[in-house]
């Protein structure tokens, strides 16, 4: 079986059905047994008038990241797609509508812009769709049909996913879509005869494997929260976190939970603290600007030791910034943001499956350590789709993690009892004999305000001891290497780690000696493990999607020399090829 690794883009104007086409493509490829990683980008304007692009990487091996070179471009709008030309691989295939409604001047067509050896598949998508279904609406399906025919994807695979997607809209819509698809498929078989390939024939034996679902990061978070027994969701819409709220709004009520849209992010975090205070698992999701509003109340949770789960889906900043672009630049704000010495737990999943698991985990962490837990994702992780076995949480993973006070202290309950672990057993309001006062003022064990020098020192120390102790429950860094001394060690976090892993894999295939370390526990972090890894590396490289090198700032003191930073504030994911290039420049000459 030949190895397949194709990056496919669908590009069009808002309204062309670009995202829908990309989604169907991913579903069909997943059903065909391939690994899929997809990422959509859509216009920043709320009214939605501009370019939509879906990027999917399809492979026979597991896929960790998107590539920067596109092998197949399916254009639904030449003007929009022209901007994608620089990203085309040299021998790319380009599908485009060869019969636009009006004539275009020289150089204004997509065909004019591509390199000569690009294989052009021009076909009259709009006409074919209109001829098949009476409307040009289905031209996105027609385009998929042409693509499927050309790359050897069986018709049935697509018909199945089209049916799944459209059957709810009635037979007429479904029929029109299938007809539009078939028109493109038939045209492709007939007119591209000399260029047909069977690259994407389904993998043999696909039915035997575990059933896979296509999930985006956001959807995985939503499912994770529900599986973890979320009761209350409070939030205020913001890109890219909104889909989480939309998903929960649809699914949570039927499980007895509630979703409340608050007037802003401040009230959202306030309500989350209130919910957890009252014993119900609660969460909110936001992005940078909303997160900034929450910081004061987050530190209230730190001070009053109230659990909370806050999902920060990072986007380009500062301020309103780049609402539809990806960035990893809220690490500082998540770890350090807010007044005072306010330790909290920050975790950052690096792929869709981890989005699920870490969301589930965040509730137990919040309960056990009585603290706000910040889950850091980013636009690229939230919106990318991967196909993965249906994720499930075990009973243990979702069990109540609250440490309740012993009956022996009934009537003499100290909410902020000094302990070795720093964890003071927590009662829930309503538990008889376990009343307490909770406050954002500095307080003594009983909870009453107290500003003495000694008490503030002890209590601050207790809170930090508690958080430091959380390390035992936090996922340790994962190393990907052959072990032993490494020429280059690449450390990464969040959505960037996939690209790192792929670059490292390729480097090792090329005979280099490099390794990767994935850090998902951002704070507290496993300093010892990280230092041990660094010590084995001649050079340490930290690629991340921000300008300041925020993870590097957090951990670079652990290395005996300067770490090499690959800090990119471009709003777009780092491609593996860029990391690979950096690795190659760091490897001493002749090392391979």
């Amino acid at each position: 079986m030949a190895r397949v690794d194709l990056t496919i883009e669908v590009c069009g104007m808002a309204g062309d059905g670009t995202i829908a086409a990309g989604g169907l493509l991913n579903e069909a490829m997943s059903a065909g047994g391939f690994s899929v990683l997809g990422f959509d980008s859509y216009p920043a304007e709320i009214r939605g008038f501009g370019r939509c692009v879906t990027r999917s990487r399809i492979g026979t091996e597991r896929i960790f990241a998107l590539e920067d070179k596109t092998n197949v471009l399916i254009s639904l709008d030449d003007v929009q797609s022209r901007s994608r030309v620089p990203y085309l691989a040299r021998d790319a295939a380009v599908f485009f509508d060869s019969n636009p409604p009006v004539y275009v001047e020289e150089e204004m067509s997509l065909a004019a812009r591509v390199e000569p050896e690009t294989t052009l598949f021009g076909f009259p998508m709009a006409d074919l769709a209109a001829a098949a279904a009476g409307t040009t609406r289905g031209r996105n399906l027609t385009a998929l049909g042409g693509f499927a025919a050309t790359f050897g994807v069986p018709r049935d695979l697509f018909v199945e996913v089209i049916t799944k997607k459209f059957k709810a809209k009635g037979n007429k819509v479904l029929d029109a879509n299938i007809k539009s698809f078939d028109a493109g498929y038939a045209y492709g078989l007939e007119h591209f005869r000399d260029r047909l390939r069977d690259t994407l024939k389904p993998l043999p034996g696909i039915k035997k494997g575990p059933e896979k679902v296509m999930l985006s990061g956001n959807l995985a978070i939503g499912r994770g929260a529900i599986d973890a027994g979320l009761k209350l969701y409070f939030g205020y819409p913001i890109t890219p976190a909104t889909p989480i709220m939309e998903y929960l709004a649809a699914k949570l009520p039927e499980r007895g939970g509630r979703v409340v849209q608050m007037e802003d992010e401040i009230s959202s975090i306030g309500a989350v603290l209130g919910g957890f205070y009252a014993g119900a698992r609660s969460m909110t999701a936001t992005s940078g600007p909303g997160f900034a509003l929450m910081t004061e109340l987050i530190t209230h949770g730190v001070m009053a030791e109230i659990p909370a789960v806050i999902l920060n889906a990072q986007r380009g900043g500062p301020s309103t910034g780049l609402p539809t672009k990806t960035e990893q630049s809220d690490l500082h704000a998540a770890v350090f943001g807010g007044p005072g010495d306010s330790p909290r737990i920050v975790i950052a999943p690096s792929d869709v499956e981890e989005c699920y698991r870490y969301t589930v985990l965040s509730f137990q962490l919040a309960e056990k350590y009585q603290t706000p837990v910040i889950v850091l994702t980013d636009f690229y992780l939230d919106n990318r789709v991967e196909n993965l076995p249906i994720p499930q949480a075990t009973e243990r993973e979702i069990a109540d993690a609250n440490e309740y006070p012993d009956e022996s202290v009934q009537g003499a309950y100290k909410r902020y009892l000094m302990t070795d672990s720093g964890i003071s057993p927590r009662s829930i309001p309503g538990m008889e004999g376990f009343t307490f006062s909770a406050t954002g003022l500095e307080h003594v064990e009983k909870g009453t305000p107290n500003y003495t020098e000694e008490n503030h020192m002890n209590m601050t120390e207790k809170r930090h001891r508690k958080i430091a102790g959380a390390l035992e429950d936090l996922p340790a860094p994962v190393e990907y290497s052959r072990g032993g001394p490494l020429d280059v060690g690449v450390i990464g976090w969040g959505s960037t780690f996939g690209a790192i892993l792929e670059a490292v894999n390729i480097a090792n295939e090329r005979g280099l000696n490099v390794g990767a370390l994935k850090i998902t526990s951002i704070f507290p972090f496993h300093g010892g493990v990280i230092r041990a890894f660094m010590n084995r590396c001649s050079e340490v490289l930290i690629p991340e999607l921000n300008y300041e090198g925020q993870l590097a700032n957090l951990i670079d003191h652990l290395h005996r020399k300067d770490v090499v930073r690959l800090s990119r504030a471009t709003g777009s994911p780092i491609p593996p090829s860029l990391i690979l290039k950096e690795i190659e420049t760091l490897v001493p000459a002749g090392a391979s």
């Binding site: 019969n99 409604p101 009006v102 006409d127 074919l128 209109a130 001829a131 098949a132 279904a133 009476g134 409307t135 040009t136």
Partner: protein, 596 residues
């Protein structure tokens, strides 16, 4: 000018829509509109209401489809086979980027093929006038004139020099192109109006024009063009050199000459192609049509060229004959090479021989098919230099009172449909001259129509080609089969769906329009425009739309009916129903009754 009357219109078009508001207009602006917007009808010399008959065929109303043709064209079944199809070159579906023209002609044939076997067309007859007219020549022009004169109430006598009526249709066109039973049936339907046909009567020999003028109120000469032109090159009188027209007429009369294996046809028109294709059927196997220019200069349809080549006819171009050589019989033809040197004022290309480039092509027979002219008929009145009676092209009058001319006899060789149209107009003029009143007039009929049920899918149906007898070898059996087999019902129906129905008129009510531009989004081409100004011509019809891209300058959203393909997409998407559809047709109505 526009008389608005609302009345019941029960006779036409659709049993389903019985009552409608109908307006008949003779406003020049409306005629201008028709000329620009229903290009097929405007291109037809007889102004056949093409969209209407195609629509009827689509609805399965074959009789009515045939009748709509029959109103202006007395020989629909014949024309459905051999018409020169000026309409198809103007068909909007054939515009660049829209595909190929509708097969208008073959739909006509389908209507004729599928109509009830015993179908009888009920003519709208006028009261008898008690006056008599003799029509000379039973070809297309004579038949059409005789028919209309009979309808107007004249006592009509039709004289034909040859043995059967039909003129060139009976003698000049091979049977593989036009089966004679089709012709006979349609001629019979003319004769049954009381027209007295006398064949084998050669006017000028058997009976003098003067004599006819004495006994009849009027005489119309429509004797056609039977005098074959000559090449005027040495050797043209050698045995084995045949006149094309004579050759075809001989074959049609069952007197086929011996040709030999190699035949050169000199000529570039339909007759040349008929000769070449007949020659193959008579056993020749190396037949070439030699033309002065290139294939582009040929005056025949692309289908004709294709079918001829498919049968094995070669076309040899850029050569002009200078001499026919041979001792006792033709042995070869000498040619000069030619070159194209620009365009002549009439738009045709100027082809000149190259001095000294002569070469000889050996052959067994030569058929000269370079056209024909009218044969002079002895008659009083003013003549041209070839001694043929001259007539006025609009009044059809000659210099002799009550003596009229029409058809190819007056104009020189034209097409069948032009002859029919000419014959009809001549009949009208004669009737007006003899009675002092008008019998009928053209008007634009405008009425509301229900929502257009055309589907956008239909625009993409490929042109349904006429099936022919294939492989071509099968055509050479005896008796000659008709090469074009005719549509079966299904492809005919498919083809009828392709017609855009340009007689539909889409209009945006600008007072109701909210400028949402949804219609522009769904438009199949740039047919709906944002305009600053609508410029009218002197007749009051839309001449030009001044478009603008500056939103603040937009004064209206306008459907450009000349770009519109009547797909109905705008109509379906308009949120405020401000787009209306009306049906606009050019019709001829009888003035006395108001009926069409």
């Amino acid at each position: 000018m526009r008389e608005k009357s609302s009345y019941l219109d029960k006779t036409l078009n659709s049993e389903r829509e019985v009552i409608r508001n109908v307006v008949y207009s003779t406003d020049p602006a409306d005629f201008s509109y028709m000329a620009a917007n229903v290009p097929c009808q405007a291109a037809c010399p007889a102004w056949t209401n093409v969209p209407a008959y195609i629509r009827c065929l689509y609805e399965g109303r074959f009789d009515r489809s045939y009748e709509i043709n029959r109103i202006v064209n007395v020989l629909p079944g014949v024309l459905g086979r051999i018409c020169s199809r000026p309409c198809e070159t103007k068909c909007r579906h054939g515009e660049r980027e829209l595909g190929q023209p509708v097969n208008i002609c073959h739909i006509k044939r389908a209507a004729s093929d599928f109509k009830e076997p015993g179908h009888v067309y009920l003519e709208q007859l006028f009261a008898p006038l008690g006056k008599s007219v003799t029509v000379v020549g039973a070809g297309p022009a004579g038949l059409a004139a005789a028919h209309d004169l009979a309808v107007f109430g004249f006592d009509v006598e039709l004289l034909e020099a040859l043995e059967t009526p039909g003129g060139m249709l009976a003698y000049g066109i091979p049977e593989f192109r036009l089966p004679r039973d089709v012709l006979k049936a349609e001629i019979d339907s003319i004769l049954r109006l009381g027209v007295t046909l006398r064949t084998g009567v050669k006017v000028g020999e058997d009976v003098a024009v003067d004599e006819l003028l004495k006994s009849r109120h009027a005489v119309l000469l429509a004797a056609g063009c039977y005098a074959a032109r000559q090449l005027d090159v040495p050797g043209e009188d050698l045995p084995g050199v045949l006149s094309g027209l004579r050759f075809v007429m001989d074959v049609n009369s069952g007197r086929a000459p011996m040709l030999g294996k190699r035949v050169l046809v000199l000529g570039a028109g339909f007759t040349a192609f008929d000769c070449a294709r007949l020659a193959l059927r008579l056993g020749a196997d190396d037949v070439a049509i030699c033309i002065r220019g290139t294939e582009e200069d040929l005056r025949v349809t692309q289908d004709e060229i294709h079918e001829a080549k498919r049968e094995g006819v070669h076309i040899r171009s850029l050569m002009v004959s200078t001499r026919i050589v041979g001792r006792d019989r033709v042995e070869g033809v000498e040619f000069l090479r030619t070159r194209i040197e620009g365009t002549r004022p009439d738009g045709r290309r100027k082809v000149v021989p190259v001095d000294g480039s002569d070469f000889c092509v050996p052959t067994d027979s030569v058929i000269v098919a370079v056209g024909q002219g009218p044969e002079p008929i002895p008659a009083p009145g003013e003549k041209d230099k070839r001694n043929v009676l001259k007539g006025d092209p609009t009044t059809f009058r000659t210099s002799v009172p009550n003596l009229y001319v029409a058809g190819d006899f007056m104009t020189g060789p034209t097409t069948v449909i032009e002859s029919i149209a000419g014959g009809r107009r001549a009949a009208e003029r004669i009737a007006e001259d003899l009675t002092g009143r008008k019998f009928r007039e053209w008007a634009v009929r405008i009425h509301d129509t229900g929502v257009n049920d055309r589907q956008r899918e239909w625009d993409f149906i490929p042109r349904q080609e006429m099936p022919t007898v294939l492989p071509a070898i099968e055509r050479f059996q005896s008796p000659q089969p008709e090469v074009e087999i005719g549509y079966s019902p299904e492809p005919a129906h498919e083809e009828s769906k392709r017609c855009y129905l340009c007689y539909l008129h889409y209009e945006i009510d600008i007072d109701a329009c909210i400028y949402c531009r949804y219609c522009i989004d769904v438009a199949p081409r740039d047919c709906i425009k944002l305009v600053r100004e609508v410029v009218l011509d002197e007749s009051g019809a839309v001449k030009r739309l001044v478009e603008t891209t500056a939103w603040e300058e937009v004064n209206a959203v306008v459907i450009d009916n000349e770009r519109c393909i009547r797909c109905g997409a705008c109509l379906r998407v308009c949120p405020v129903d401000c787009i209306s559809v009306s049906k606009v047709e050019l019709v001829q109505r009888a003035l006395e009754t108001g009926r069409e």
